[in-house]
């Protein structure tokens, strides 16, 4: 077996070590690469931008610590735009981990932009995902009847920004940020019935499924994982984790491509030898 043929049998431990290096090095020594904004990401920005200030945005958090590297920056960038444009939002988490992580991020951003809980943002409280369908059937027509208190037990009527928020008509945009595939349920029960503008923040691995809804106009924009978040940060002109990690994302993808090419060189070499 010659050198080329050996390329198709690289030990997986070597690949793992190379991946660690490919991710760690750009995080330590930053690589600046161009970030090009795609139409899907521009759609998210424009949808929030056009939202009237008398309505609130609903940010649905259905992600946990496992995907925080992708969904965390997406959530953060959306909250950042809303705070920057003096728009109000409510958090609706369906994951206990995501609830805590998104709340911590909202608190940090609120402090940075001088925003107040209850006035500029509110947490509607964690809901188990098994509740999704009954919730989507009841809250659009009676928000305060469905979510009687916020996450901290304060009655909805006593929260200043919730005083005039009663039905789905008072919600300007719904952002579904998720590591799972429940977008169709939101479209079926919410967009299908009420035509509330929706934007989507999935992990990169499930993003391809979102193109159906994007093309059909059921979602107005989409962030494709961390790359989408980096594009969004560029639009906001506010650098965050996604922009800083874009180099590591690039090197790890390049490593995979190089390994695939190496494996194929080995495969073609051995096939030619067999044919001879």
């Amino acid at each position: 077996m010659n050198v080329f043929e050996r390329l198709q049998y690289i030990d997986r431990r070597i690949m793992y070590a190379l991946l660690v290096v490919a991710i760690a090095v750009p995080l330590i020594w930053r690589i600046n690469l161009p970030v090009v904004v795609t139409p899907a990401v521009k759609g998210v920005y424009d949808t929030f931008d056009k939202m009237p200030n008398d309505k609130i945005a609903l940010i649905v958090v259905y992600w946990g610590a496992g995907t925080v590297a992708e969904t965390g920056p997406e959530t953060s960038a959306m909250m950042r735009q809303l705070f920057m444009q003096n728009k109000k939002f409510a958090l609706l988490p369906f994951d206990p981990q995501g609830s805590k992580l998104a709340t911590d991020e909202a608190k940090a951003l609120a402090k940075k932009y001088g925003k107040k809980y209850g006035v500029d943002w509110v947490h509607w409280g964690y809901q188990p995902i098994s509740n999704l369908v009954p919730l989507l059937q009841s809250f659009p027509r009676d928000i305060k009847g469905t979510f009687k208190t916020d996450a901290y037990g304060t009655p909805m009527n006593k929260i200043p920004m919730m005083r005039n928020v009663n039905t789905i008509n008072d919600i300007g945009v719904i952002a579904d940020i998720t590591s799972s595939g429940e977008l169709d349920t939101w479209i079926a029960y919410i967009y299908g019935s009420y035509r509330t503008p929706m934007v989507y923040g999935p992990t990169a691995i499930i993003a391809p499924e979102g193109f159906n809804s994007l093309d059909a106009g059921q979602i107005k924009g989409m962030l494709m994982g961390m790359k989408g978040a980096a594009e969004y940060e560029k639009l906001l002109n506010a650098e965050g984790f996604a922009t800083r990690a874009a180099g590591a994302l690039s090197t790890s993808h390049l490593l995979i491509v190089v390994l695939i090419i190496a494996g194929n060189i080995g495969y073609v070499s051995s096939r030619r030898r067999r044919e001879r």
């Binding site: 690289i10 997986r12 690949m15 793992y16 991946l19 690469l33 161009p34 970030v35 090009v36 795609t38 139409p39 899907a40 946990g64 610590a65 496992g66 995907t67 925080v68 590297a69 981990q97 805590k100 992580l101 188990p128 098994s130 509740n131 369908v133 009954p134 919730l135 059937q137 009841s138 027509r141 009676d142 009847g145 469905t146 990169a204 993003a207 391809p208 499924e209 193109f211 159906n212 994007l214 093309d215 494709m224 790359k227 874009a246 180099g247 994302l249 690039s250 790890s252 993808h253 390049l254 490593l255 995979i256 491509v257 390994l259 695939i260 190496a262 494996g263 194929n264 495969y267 073609v268």
Partner: protein, 270 residues
């Protein structure tokens, strides 16, 4: 039910918890007793009828025209109430799940079964996290908050992130082994994968940054090629797959609504 009439708003939380449990035991007991009184041969038709009526409420509510002023029809209030009732039923699943975990791992520890140590870890983790949660919720203090954050961010969140991150290593190994140019189709897939993988990261934009941003040549920029593959051929394939899935889901829903579904539960004598 009774809870709403007997307990006034503002009553202590523990009284509400007792009231809900009482409701569950009393009404659950009555329902269970009534079901036991029904002759065996009528039990299945009864459940079939109840399933059909429950499904019918949602179907009629969806199709019956709504009042343009209120956007509601005569069944909408009932649907909202049913939604709330379903939430309560789902909440009991949490208690049932906890009970099952404790029973299973408790058995492992008491009987000293293989791997009992991991069951012990479950109990330590369960009570530590629950204790810290209750402590920080009911007796808020800096110490309670720090303990909760240390357990949540230091252990739970980090473990979750670590578990998911390991997938990245498997993806590298799997992609290396799977993408071989064994046939024309495999080569086409490899080419598409190459464009999407590189075009989806900033380095893709860097590689073809020499191409103009306007005009026909812009279509050859890797980020644009990648976006085209995702938004055109990928979307067409996804749409086809989803049509199939949704038709199957519709058939499945109809089978369940009309109690035509066969399985371990439906075959059992009630």
């Amino acid at each position: 039910m009774f809870t709403r009439f007997l307990i006034k708003p503002g009553a202590p939380q523990w009284l509400w918890v007792l009231g809900v449990l009482g409701d569950f035991l009393i009404f659950g007991g009555i329902l269970f007793g009534l079901l036991q009184l029904v002759p065996v041969r009528f039990r299945r038709p009864l459940i079939v009828a109840l399933t059909f009526i429950a499904g019918l409420i949602y179907s009629v509510e969806f199709f019956y025209p709504a009042d343009p002023k209120t956007q509601m029809n005569f069944l909408t209030p009932l649907r909202i109430k049913l939604g709330e009732a379903t939430k309560v039923v789902y909440a009991f699943a949490l208690g049932l799940g906890t009970f099952n975990l404790i029973r299973f791992h408790g058995g492992n520890v008491i009987r000293n079964r293989a791997g009992w140590f991991y069951s012990l870890v479950f109990f330590i983790s369960f009570f530590a996290m629950a204790g810290a949660g209750f402590w920080s919720y009911y007796c808020p203090s800096r110490a309670a908050e720090n303990t909760y954050n240390m357990l949540f961010e230091g252990i739970v969140a980090s473990l979750g992130a670590t578990m998911f991150s390991t997938i990245g290593f498997y993806i590298v190994s799997a992609a290396y082994r799977a993408f071989r140019i064994r046939s024309a189709e495999a080569t086409l897939m490899l080419l598409a994968a190459f464009i999407v993988m590189v075009g989806q990261v900033p380095v893709g934009a860097y590689i073809t940054s020499g191409l103009p941003e306007v005009g026909p040549l812009r279509n050859l920029r890797l980020e644009n090629l990648s976006y085209w593959i995702l938004s055109q051929p990928n979307m067409a394939a996804q749409r086809g797959i989803w049509f199939g899935i949704e038709v199957g889901a519709l058939a499945m829903a109809l089978r369940q609504w009309l109690s035509l579904e066969r399985g371990s539960f439906f075959e059992r004598e009630l």
